[in-house]
């Protein structure tokens, strides 16, 4: 049974994130993903298999084609899991931006009336 961490790892891999981005735009068959990513078909199929295992991507048959799409509902908990921790760091970094602005002014010898 995949854990949230497994799912997150699956979607965090850069190539798989690229595939998710492409599928988020619209449903696509494998050959289109092969063309757009420049990867070989076996690699694309392998990435799709990993994404399907964690529920991030679903497939349906249409005629003799198989079309893939993102399952946004399945992805949400994964991002919910990580995002508070990421937000903590983002809050720290926004404050660090302010500290750095002050340091830059100091270094340039700017004396303003703030």
């Amino acid at each position: 049974m995949p854990t949230t961490a497994d799912a997150f790892n699956a979607v965090a891999e850069p190539r798989r994130r690229q595939i998710l981005d492409l599928l988020a735009a619209r449903e696509r068959p494998v050959n289109e993903l092969v063309e757009l990513t420049g990867l070989g078909q076996p690699q694309v199929s392998k990435h799709l298999r990993v994404l399907r295992e964690v529920g991030a991507v679903r497939a349906r048959e249409e005629g003799r084609r198989r079309l893939y799409r993102v399952d946004a509902e399945a992805l949400r908990p994964i991002f919910d899991w990580v995002s508070p921790y990421q937000r903590l760091w983002e809050e720290r970094f926004e404050r660090l931006d302010d500290v750095l602005e002050d340091l830059k002014k100091e270094e340039q010898g700017d004396v303003d009336d703030e």
Partner: protein
């Protein structure tokens, strides 16, 4: 600022016991390094918006100790400490990190220390900060990520269970 998007912190999990955080800053790296290693400057950013800085102790040499403590908005003290393992001024800091509020004994908390590597790379006057957090186990890694949850660990565990059930079906 129009750069907000490209300056957003990126978080990835490169291995089951690791967390990688990257963020670009619009400042040369010697200033980022200074803000990262000067107690009164760290006090201004490390607390995020979640409390008041109490003690920022930085003994910046190999084997030296650091400790950051704040009074969180819920009245509790939140503190971390560790030891510097490697220091390359303006470039790299490797240190351990222990969460003092972790469940269990202080010895157990020490055993769950992470090894953090912060690197600072400058490009065209901007600085990319990369933080790799290596945890002693996947469980510690997951506990750290869950610690960001506003509702606390139990909510996180409930959510994990719910997610796991969803993935299983």
């Amino acid at each position: 600022m129009s750069m907000t998007n490209e300056r957003k912190a990126e978080l990835t999990l490169p291995a089951e016991d690791q967390i990688l955080i990257t963020r670009e800053f619009d400042a040369p790296r010697h200033l980022v390094y200074k803000a990262w290693t000067t107690p009164e400057l760290v006090a201004r950013w490390w607390t995020a918006r979640r409390g008041t800085a109490k003690e920022m102790e930085i003994d910046l040499r190999v084997g030296g100790r650091w400790r950051y403590a704040m009074d969180a908005d819920n009245g509790q003290e939140v503190a971390f400490h560790g030891e510097y393992r490697e220091i390359v001024p303006d470039e790299k800091i490797v240190s351990t990190e222990v969460f003092e509020g972790a469940p269990g004994t202080p010895e157990e908390a020490e055993a769950n220390a992470t090894l953090n590597t912060a690197t600072f790379e400058e490009r065209d006057g901007r600085t990319l900060v990369t933080m790799l957090i290596r945890c002693p186990s996947p469980e510690v890694r997951d506990a750290i990520i869950a610690s960001g949850m506003e509702g606390g660990l139990q909510d996180a565990l409930d959510l994990l269970e719910e997610v796991a059930r969803g993935l299983d079906s």
